[in-house]
């Protein structure tokens, strides 16, 4: 199917199925949930980055008229239950409880301590101020390298480094240590003519979704719980709630509402359990809405990093060896992102010899979470900045150097696995052929930079049902929350198979009671995996309708064909039904036709991107202005090209935010100094040129239409491309994100 160019629906640009509701302001987001008698919840957070909780006194808050409930960790886990979990060494569960409502210790400023449900949000805020918490403040560690020191405060005295190496009994702030080793790096560097080496740093960065997390919980009279959630995964919320509240899965129904931005940050559940606890205690529905400061302090940003990288190449331009050490802040609780960063940064090129050491380090900051290509953006920045410097030292064109070293089908990665069906070379060649790359760039203080990137993508589990209505329309339901327009792109794939125009496919997202299990909408997987489920469900519909036609016509089922929207029997021209004609016959000839599919997609195609950017740097102020931006990407097959272009533009803008503007700023005590959107700057339209997306289609054969994930790749190249453009404009190499005017002037030797 992938090479079939005669698509009716695939590759067209219809209006998104959710467009009218959204542009008219009628779409129902999490904060639009409104239930009779509903109360409003607010969360009290620790002002300290590291402290022991001596006592919590909630009496004054509970006495305030209009307050319905106050909850603390004791409402989540009784003393007896906690003792039993401690005895069972169930540390994962206890850590999840402490991140929901801290028990005896806080490990980051912003950690939840207590929550209040009240008649109004203002009353809830007033009640929070009446909760008296006594802390014993402990020394905090907020820098990843400081956390590695022998005398660093230990966040978790029981934490031992998880690693495949010989186990250590020494407690450590290193949560995970991993290593990849290929060939003989020392020999590779010995054979290199040119070696470059730098240390790169980046700050924690937030996903920056416009809609903060919100959850509304309601306990029914029968003891069942319904949650109206703001999430990337309805089943992820259900699983978190039943785990922490120890409920049967069948007692919890999660209904997803529209999502106002997520980018990986809503894979995790932050306020759903709190809302459920408050609603249970208050005896009424409760909606908990985070504010912007709550969102910065109390949800998971991406890691701050230190990356040391060394590359060596021959004078002909062959990379011979690499050595890297990646130190990633994972926040206050153990996690793992450095390995993902290493996988991404070493993905685009052939490295005959390499050693990569990855350290995930706990620090007194919010526990990190996924953010669009998790772990990959600072790692790609480091690799692309140093690859560019190497090309410059060799006197080679930066794209030619990348092409010379690019992975191809059959190349071996650092783990020994082989690349297959990739489009990295096609992307680089498209970038080189793009008019932008050779356009004159006149004027002083201007430079053009490029960067390349790799992202692995994902598949996983998705479910879909398609119900045929007697009027010839169909209802398609999936379990995949729509964060990127996937109701449309998934429905388009079903419409193509069904031979129907898109407007006859009503596409919606079910709740956890109405659709089969589906993994989170993340990892650039939904159009691929849920699209596969929709294709299979549509094929199931065709098979069942063909069987029904055979019954009506009294012919063998295998004699019925379906092409161009018509069921027919080749040997008898009289036997012919359009889809709608047969649909109309269904109620009188048997049961409703429902196509069902439940897939676990185990193969997916990687995505490569190459970006070109022109910048102008003010040599007096260090301010960088973006003049022109082109983003080339292998998208497999663009189901809905406008949506794919939108993904590339949006991801690129977020990468520009990483490059120039965004970052958590902390004081030494571990308190964030810019937890608002004035001091934490997101890129706006005023900061940006047109982002010109270029779609390269190298179909992935594992999907019937050739789809590969597109959402995450575009965030990866911007910091490297912009750094390289700044280097061309100023002669100075950049080594940190964000590349603030101060950093640029410092690297230029002006301050």
């Amino acid at each position: 199917m992938a090479n079939n160019k005669n698509f009716s629906v695939i590759g067209t640009r219809p209006p998104r199925v959710d467009a009218a509701e959204k542009v008219t302001g009628r779409a129902k987001y999490g904060s639009d949930a409104q239930l009779p008698g509903m109360a409003y919840g607010k969360v009290l957070r620790s002002p300290h980055a590291h402290a022991r909780i001596v006592s919590i006194d909630t009496h004054a808050a509970e006495s305030l008229p209009g307050v319905y409930a106050v909850v603390t960790s004791a409402d989540l886990l009784s003393a007896e239950e906690r003792a039993a979990r401690v005895a069972a060494e169930d540390w994962g569960f206890l850590a999840a409880c402490d991140q929901t409502l801290a028990h005896d210790k806080v490990l980051f400023a912003g950690q939840p301590i207590a929550a209040v449900a009240a008649r109004t949000p203002t009353l809830a805020e007033q009640a929070l101020a009446l909760i008296a918490v006594e802390y014993e403040v402990l020394p905090a560690v907020v820098d990843v390298l400081d956390a590695l020191r022998d005398d660093a405060p230990l966040l978790h005295p029981g934490l031992r480094t998880r690693s495949l190496a010989a186990p250590s009994e020494q407690p450590s702030n290193v949560a995970v240590y991993a290593q990849q080793l290929k060939g003989d790096p020392a020999q590779g560097f010995a054979e290199a003519d040119v070696i470059v080496e730098r240390e790169f740093r980046s700050l924690m960065v937030h996903q920056g979704y416009i809609e903060p997390h919100v959850s509304t919980a309601e306990w029914n009279a029968d003891g069942k719980l319904t949650i109206y959630a703001d999430t990337q995964g309805l089943f992820a919320v259900r699983d978190q709630v039943v785990w922490l509240l120890r409920l049967p899965m069948s007692d919890v129904r999660v209904t997803p509402l529209e999502v106002g931005g997520a980018f990986g940050g809503k894979n995790n559940s932050y306020v759903d359990v709190v809302a459920a606890l408050l609603a249970r205690k208050a005896g009424r529905p409760v909606k908990v809405t985070m504010g912007r400061a709550d969102t910065f302090l109390g949800t998971g940003p991406s890691s701050g990093t230190v990356i040391r990288l060394k590359l060596g190449a021959t004078r002909e331009g062959r990379i011979m060896a690499a050595q890297a050490a990646l130190y990633y802040e994972v926040g206050a609780y153990p996690g793992s992102l450095a390995g993902s960063g290493a996988h991404v940064m070493f993905g685009p090129y052939v490295f005959p010899n390499a050693q990569v050491d990855c350290y995930d380090v706990v620090v007194n900051k919010p526990p990190t979470a996924s953010y669009r290509a998790p772990g990959g953006t600072p790692a790609t920045f480091a690799m692309e900045a140093l690859v560019d410097e190497l090309a410059e030292k060799l006197g080679l064109d930066p794209l030619d150097f990348r092409l010379l070293n690019s992975v191809r089908n059959g190349s071996e990665d650092l783990d020994g696995d082989l690349y297959h069906h990739i489009g990295g070379v096609e992307v680089l060649e498209a970038a080189k052929a793009h008019p932008h790359y050779t356009a004159p760039l006149a004027g002083p203080n201007r430079g053009r930079g490029v960067a390349h990137s790799y992202w692995g993508n994902w598949g996983a589990r998705s479910s879909c049902t398609i119900t045929v209505n007697p009027d010839g329309t169909v209802g398609l339901v999936t379990g995949s929350v729509d964060i990127t327009g996937t109701r449309t792109s998934v429905a388009m794939q079903a419409a193509e198979v069904l031979g129907l125009p898109l407007e006859r496919v009503k596409s919606s997202v079910g709740d956890t009671d109405s659709i089969g299990y589906s993994d989170v909408s993340a990892g650039s997987r939904t159009t691929l995996a849920t699209g596969t489920a929709a294709i299979r469900a549509a094929q199931d519909v065709i098979a069942k309708m063909s069987a029904r036609a055979a019954t009506i016509w009294e012919v063998p089922a295998e004699s019925v064909t379906y092409q161009n929207g018509v069921f027919a029997v080749a040997a008898d021209a009289e036997k012919r039904f359009t889809f709608a004609e047969l649909a109309a016959q269904l109620p009188n000839t048997g049961n409703t036709v429902i196509g069902v599919a439940n897939v676990d997609v185990g193969e997916w195609g990687a995505s490569f991107a190459a970006h070109i950017v022109d910048v102008e740097v003010d040599p007096e102020t260090g301010k960088t202005t973006l003049l022109r931006y082109t983003a080339v990407q292998d998208v497999g097959k663009a189901i809905h090209p406008s949506q794919v272009e939108g993904q590339i533009q949006g991801g690129t803008v977020q990468g520009i935010g990483w490059a120039l503007y965004e970052g958590y700023v902390y004081n030494e005590a571990g308190q964030m100094l810019n937890a608002n959107l004035l001091d934490y700057k997101l890129p706006t339209a005023l900061d940006l040129p047109m982002i010109d997306p270029v779609l390269v289609e190298v179909p992935f054969p594992g999907h019937p239409f050739g789809v590969r994930g597109v959402g995450e790749s575009p965030i990866l190249p911007p910091p490297g491309a912009i750094a390289n453009a700044i280097a061309r404009a100023t002669g100075a190499r950049m080594t940190q994100l964000p590349m603030t005017p101060a950093h640029i002037l410092k690297q230029m030797g002006k301050i």
Binding site: R162, S163, L164, A165, A166, P167, V176, Y177, A178, Q179, Q180, L181, Q207, F263, G264, G265, N267, S336, G339, S340, H343, Q355, S370, Y371, R372, A373, P374, D415, G416, D417, L418, G456, N457, W458, A522, G523, S524, R525, D600, G602, E603, E712
Partner: protein, 87 residues
């Protein structure tokens, strides 16, 4: 016999060997066989009857959700990799 890539941090157990062979019809059986030849391998890779948290296994170049229960062919190639996530 299946061919197993030994992660670099575990090569202290295999005398520096990066690739070894071991019999077995599943990943679990291969790990058990490895543990006989190279004591300590199982404790590094497994937590009880599961792979260590954060670890994934690929058989013949394909990641598997079955983990230790994944069937293994006589010529299979097995690699232990980091599990990763998406945003």
């Amino acid at each position: 016999m299946a061919s197993v890539s030994i992660p670099s941090l575990m090569r202290d157990l295999t005398g520096g060997l990066a690739r070894v062979e071991a019999p077995g019809r599943t990943v679990a059986e291969v790990v058990d066989a490895l543990n006989v030849a190279y004591p300590g391998v199982k404790a590094r890779l497994c937590e009880g009857v599961r792979l260590m948290a954060g670890l994934a296994v690929s058989v013949d170049g394909r990641l598997t959700r079955l983990g230790l229960q994944q069937p293994v062919g006589p010529q299979s190639e097995i690699r232990f990799l980091r599990a990763s996530e998406g945003g």
